[in-house]
């Protein structure tokens, strides 16, 4: 069952990654990357149970925090220096 | 109890739970140092934005708000799911509207705007003074917000305090 969940999360991550590639705006990409990050947290948690190493939860927590900070920083940057082509296909 | 002490206690508990090492003195010392550092940084934010202890009290007093919000989240999840799986029968009708906020304190407004964002289907774009700019995926969701139940409940948290 954990395996199924893992697989599902991987599928979600894959689709998010696809969206990150497609864009078209930089915000779509950031949205997708953020989603990819939060799903990574989930994945680590479930994977910990799958491999019977629930200690991985610590890593998941830390990853959640890093992901949040990362997204905020990127947004700060994009907000201050908006790319010329942010809103269209580059 | 002053905000600072609440913070210290909260952070200490948080650290202890995450750490799991409750006997190693070196690690405990490091933990204490982390708590001190985090408190110091939080107090600097506090000085600037004045989330005073009243704010903390808001979050803790009314237990009915959180279950209600959870139910709202479940409901809005379902409505967005319908849009995703059945776009033909449940077409989206995106719109943007500026709403007046009932809550008056900063902490309550923050809570309100975050609650809007947390429920799928709506997102708060910008908060200015007592107004909030909202994007909604569905007109119904916007209506619900205009009806003001959420605002009302957050406002109650604020005044009942």
């Amino acid at each position: 069952m954990f395996a199924v969940t893992c697989l599902a999360i991987l599928v979600v991550m894959g689709i998010a990654l696809a969206r990150a590639f497609i864009g078209p705006t930089i915000y779509d990409r950031i949205l997708a990357v953020n989603m990819f990050g939060t799903k990574t947290v989930l994945f680590i948690a479930v994977y910990g149970f799958l491999t019977e190493r629930p200690e991985f939860m610590d890593i998941a927590l830390i990853y959640a925090l890093i992901n949040f900070v990362g997204v905020i920083v990127v947004l700060k940057f994009v907000e201050r220096y908006p790319p010329n082509s942010a809103h269209s296909d580059e | 109890m002053p905000y600072r002490y609440l913070l210290i206690i909260g952070l200490t508990l948080f650290w202890l739970l995450l750490s799991g090492y409750w006997t190693n003195p070196l690690i405990l010392t490091l933990g204490a140092a982390s708590v001190a550092l985090a408190t110091w940084m939080a107090m600097r934010i506090e000085k600037k934005y004045a989330f005073n202890e009243k704010g903390i009290a808001i979050l803790s007093k009314q237990h009915t708000f959180w279950p209600w919000l959870f139910v709202e989240i479940v409901k809005s999840n379902i409505s967005v799911l319908k849009c995703i799986w059945m776009p033909k029968t449940h077409p989206i009708s995106p719109l943007i509207r500026q709403l007046k906020m009932q809550p008056q304190t900063r902490i309550a407004r923050t809570l309100y705007a975050n609650s809007i964002t947390l429920t799928p289907g709506t997102v708060s774009i910008e908060v200015r003074n007592d107004e909030v700019l909202i994007y909604a995926l569905l007109e119904d969701a916007m209506k619900d917000l205009e009806d003001g139940e959420m605002g009302e409940r957050v406002y109650k948290l604020e005044v009942n305090n």
Binding site: T51, R53, E55, F56 | -
Partner: protein, 124 residues
Amino acid sequence: MMTLELYNYWVVIFLMMAGFYMLIASNHLIRKIIGLNIFQTSVFMLYISLGKVAGGTAPIAAEGIDTYSNPLPHVLILTAIVVGISTTSLALALVIRIKESYDTVNEDEILEIDRIADEEGSSA
């Protein structure tokens, strides 16, 4: 079968090539830095997969587990990551100063600006 068993190396090689390509092909200095990071990251992954012990689990001490993967590469890579971050931040600082003095971060444009400056310098 070899090819699939060594999938980690293929991932590493793919990342390495991707980073390297970005580094070489891009004129944009920031992209070069990103390429450099991908390139370095591939090496980090190489190291970590080198530390894998068959049947071993992540080297986090816990009761009831006696086979761990080798933690040394992890420790080494922590150092290498720190080095990588220092390199990246230095590179970014340089790019900021380049942007300040050239008003562009495009390598071709920078070369062009230098070339024009040279010509003016030699004619003056």
